[in-house]
Symmetry: C2
């Protein structure tokens, strides 16, 4: 049996030179350990998430040239790799040069191609155009090519034939069915490349650049196991590792490359996030690996502060993705020193704890910036956290600065001539300065930004997805920072991370239990006094779930759907609520007022804040940023919503 | 001859209820003035740029229902309008319900459809997937539908037949060829719907939602005049007005709806940005309207400060787009009071002058925030500008606040236990506080944000495209604001706007000539002392053009192309430079050092700033924001670049 190499390499987006080096090293290593067929990821020379760099002809030529170098390096080995396929005699619909997301195969220094193929490479059949995948923007797909050439699409789906030697020196042919990422996820498309190819080949190969989201690895195992079981053909799946981004969304690529045998068993699954080439034979004994039969992120285990109850599998996976994402981000930009404002609350504590598992204590600077609204309790918790992490810690009260700003702005006099041009008008527009946002901006834009800049470091945004949803944060204040690592985590996941890190990573109380237990609060005014139990205007158990359906449901809900479900007593099911809705709201009026309050923010002013927010690390099936395209619009309620509302309030 | 109504209505994105009202009013008016066929824009119920709202089933139903209401309102008139076409029995490739960008036609309360059509509506054939157009993300196109139904695409391109009465009461049939926006821009596609339909119809109708960019109106006239001349068929083009956005990019929709007769003459062109229904007959005498034969934005007339020389047509168009965009943005969000930080420099002066043409002087607050680095000269110019505009003006020096921040941060002591846990380590990470960015953040995040918030107003970002390109601005400082109105204008266009507003709008020296003449400078340190002629590290005449080719060229250039052109003595042509390159750089070394300096920023750190920058108003053919997709990557130079560099430096 041939020896396959699962080439789960780290791909650096937009850096063909670096990727060439990685690939040539992988090929040399594969030759050294006598791998017959080395499989590398989709678009592993250019990277997948490179924005509109595809519009640079010089970048295309660079990728093409490096593709040639790789083919030349295949003496004595067979290699499959992803690269951009270019046809300069044709153009895309936008008039730019024709580009394909393509799979190249080479052996002994020459290309392996199908006898009747239109090109030297295999063209991706199914180009995804959802989430951050915009393949139609740059790549021509196989169905369009079939149309252009007036031929059947199935005629263009052809196997690749390699030639290997038995131990006795005789040769045999080995047919591979080439698939690129989405090609295997054919549920909703008009064609299934897998089915077309399966009858003609010895092995299906899927090369991917597939970012991590919670629950996706299990979903993928189920997909490929169903396919291999049905078709009785083994399949090798190879995914990249590393981080790639579209600006706002930093995706971690988790690899988890896998060989499935014809009995649909997992012969080998490469460790997540590990950059490596793993050899495996088709007839090897399968690994024992349990694949969860449910989608873990569909189920939310409840967290009550310090209960120790949370979904450990989900949280472990979440922690790993965040840790990898942060570490790779810091490494990529060469960032060493990290400054974190800590308030004693849960969000900054979880961020500080997370970073402490990556950044040496010597390079981690925690800053407490109390105002008179901060309780002794939270100030103590901030100090305790710093002590537990043994990071550098300083207290920088903001009272003097706030007082100065108050004084200066309250004294500010604007003047102009009146409209006759005769008399000078004077106004003092600011009488009672609203202090809340001034505090938040003072902390981030005045203190943290200056400290970070002067040390050549960065400061963090510690926001979560619940806050991002409703804009419960101050622009240029707590919404500022180089990275919002946890901004794709709902508040319940922040608590889960706290419990998980204390319990599994530190195995001691690093995040003070009091921080987990205290009522969540911004502490920007007397109305947010934690010592009186006053905090955020949210019931996170309910609101996390409500807001999640607005963004993460594949068919996104709106208030109309919420009222419909409320009326039909199915809201608990729709939102996966642990308690009846009456537990959270005693009357329809209270329920509807609350619904409109958050919908108005989520689909209104919060968007303005998200437009200027930092990048985040994607962990969910839908993150704010390019993953979800948002226009800055005003909140909208349908006619049906108003009818339902009237009915319910009668 | 039938009377056509060019229904150039204002479309509000994401507000079907509001659009329904506008459309019903337009229909009522059209009936009153005896229009036979009223033509309304593409997607005029939903709006075009609505992000991913297409994923909300309740929003789709709302659009569908309103479509029915509009059809019901067509008693005694024929109406063509754009709406989403939904087929709930099918799904898109992403598994969501099937959606089409569709054209609906109705007359006398019922739908007008082609006899053999698959649907009651016409499906858009060509779906653009470049710039901010992401049609494949949500809409199924006609070629895919043809493939799905195993029929010829041309069979699906069918005319719509209306029935009208002669004055004598006899009826006649009138055939219309339905086109949706991109369908007419068929240069690079496999099919030309225009050609297929032209032979079968009396009139081609193109309904569009086409945002303004400089030069596009002329390009469009040329396109349609060429088509009507060749095909000898009249064409009615109807475009929406209003503003729509994708988050970062605010597009103005300029309308300019036009009827071209079979001789290719313009019978009527509706005024730009005017929300109106204009009646026109096919046999009317054409208007006399000169269409420029060149693309105005390809040619850059040179601006030397206070020369009075600039491209007046381009600048008038630019001014109008910005003024309309700002006004509509303020109106849409109900914003009244605008706060602008003015430095005495050109960018803030142009922004203040622009806003003064929209916001009453009573609601315009100009703030000068000098530090010790600001010259008397620029301080005086700021005061002079405020006086010329007669807006509210105040001076708020930042010296005390900067001194306090310096004092606090220089005294800040971070402590931790050493790694043995025995000894307390103390460090003062900040010794000499770098003052430049502290000043910028103090101005925007401390002063302007607080003033604006406390007055219930907003403050502006006054950046230009040259600065945005290279990140020559401070995050949370001068890069902050609710809107960066001029961030899609190159520095030369900022000067042109100054000259234009003084000369054509105010007809007096509102922007002080000294502001136009002074060396552009950030005035954040002694190295930027304008009184010594020290300013920005840019030769705008050259750098505007260099940076423009990196982003605006359809095939985007990179340093490789620049060196290639430099070597071949074609750089002057490539960049459209008014002087030989030796005028700007005396040696290849200086030229290359400069090139790398700005490329490193443009394709590196400046991206991080743009991710968190405010929305801008689109005027160019390529704006930063969703128009250009950017991943945060590191600058890259191709192998060929390094070879050229070595050769040139030999």
């Amino acid at each position: 049996m041939i020896k396959i190499g699962l080439g789960q390499i780290e791909v650096v987006p937009g850096n063909p030179r670096k990727n060439k080096e990685t690939i040539l090293n992988a090929i040399a290593y594969a030759k050294a350990i006598r791998i017959d067929l080395l499989i590398l990821p989709e678009l592993c020379i250019s990277g997948y998430m490179i924005g509109d760099l595809w519009e640079q002809p010089s970048f295309l030529s660079e990728c093409e040239q490096i593709g040639q170098d790789i083919i030349a390096a295949t003496e004595g080995i067979a290699v499959i790799f992803g690269n951009v396929g270019i046809d300069r005699s044709k153009h895309n619909d936008d008039g730019r040069v024709r580009k394909y997301n393509a799979l190249f195969a080479a052996q002994n220094g020459t290309l392996v191609k199908s006898p009747n193929a239109l090109y030297d490479f295999t063209v991706k059949t199914l180009g995804p155009n959802y989430r951050f995948f915009n393949e139609e923007r740059h790549f021509y797909t196989l169905p369009k090519l079939a149309y252009e050439n007036k031929c059947e699409l199935t005629d263009l789906l052809q196997p690749l034939t390699f030639s290997f030697e038995y131990i006795n020196g005789n040769k045999f042919q080995f047919k591979v069915g080439p698939l690129i990422c989405e090609d295997s996820w054919d549920d909703n498309y008009m064609i299934s490349p897998t089915k077309e190819l399966a009858t003609q080949v010895d092995l299906l190969v899927n090369i991917s650049s597939s970012p991590f989201t919670l629950g996706k690895a299990n979903k993928r195992h189920r997909l490929f196991q169903n396919q291999t079981k049905k078709l009785r053909i083994p399949l090798a799946y190879v995914n990249a590792v590393g981080i790639q981004n579209n600006g706002k969304n930093i995706c971690t690529f988790d690899g988890q490359s896998t060989l499935y045998n014809a009995d649909s068993h997992i012969v080998k699954c490469v460790k997540a996030y590990e950059s490596t080439v793993v050899p495996v034979k088709l007839d090897e004994e399968p690994e024992i690996l349990t694949v969860s039969t449910t989608n873990i992120d569909a189920n939310t285990t409840d967290i009550t502060p310090h209960s120790g109850i949370y979904n450990k599998t989900e949280t472990a996976s979440l922690f790993k993705a965040l840790q990898y994402g942060i570490k790779k981000t810091l490494d990529y930009y060469g960032l060493k020193k990290v400054v974190i404002g800590i308030s004693g609350g849960i969000d900054s504590a979880v961020n500080a704890a997370l970073y402490s598992t990556i950044v040496p204590a010597n390079d981690l600077y925690l800053v407490s910036m109390p105002s008179r609204f901060n309780s002794t309790q939270t100030k103590d918790m901030a100090a305790q956290l710093a002590k537990n992490l043994n990071a550098y810690f300083a207290i920088c009260p903001i009272e003097d600065s706030i007082a100065l700003t108050n004084k200066e702005l309250n004294a500010l006099t604007f003047t102009r001539l009146d409209d006759t041009g005769e008399k000078r008008k004077e106004i003092h527009p600011i009488t009672a300065l609203s202090a809340e946002n001034i505090q938040a901006r003072d902390r981030s834009s005045r203190i943290l930004a200056a400290i970070a800049a002067n040390m050549g470091g960065v400061f963090t945004c510690n926001g979560n997805k619940t806050e991002f949803s409703i804009g419960y944060a101050t622009l240029y204040g707590d919404l500022a920072g180089f990275l919002a690592a946890t901004a794709d985590c709902w508040k319940y996941q922040i608590y889960a991370l706290a419990e998980y890190m204390n319990g599994e990573i530190f195995k001691r109380e690093v995040i003070p239990y009091k921080t987990i237990e205290v009522v969540p609060s911004a502490e920007l005014s007397d109305n947010q006094d934690v010592t009186k139990g006053l905090g955020d205007p949210l019931q996170y158990e309910y609101h996390d779930r409500l807001l999640r359906t607005f963004i993460e449901n594949w068919n996104r809900t709106t208030p109309e759907d919420i009222l419909d479900a409320y009326k039909n007593n199915t809201l608990e099911t729709l939102l996966e609520l642990p308690h009846p809705i009456a537990h959270y709201f005693s009357t329809p009026t209270a329920f509807i007022e609350d619904l409109e309050r958050w919908w108005n923010l989520q689909s209104g002013f919060a968007i303005a804040k998200r437009i200027q927010s930092p990048p985040l690390i994607v962990v969910s099936r839908r993150a704010y940023g390019g993953d979800l395209l948002e226009s800055q619009l005003k909140p909208y309620y349908t006619e049906h919503y108003y009818r339902l509302k009237t009915e319910l309030l009668k």
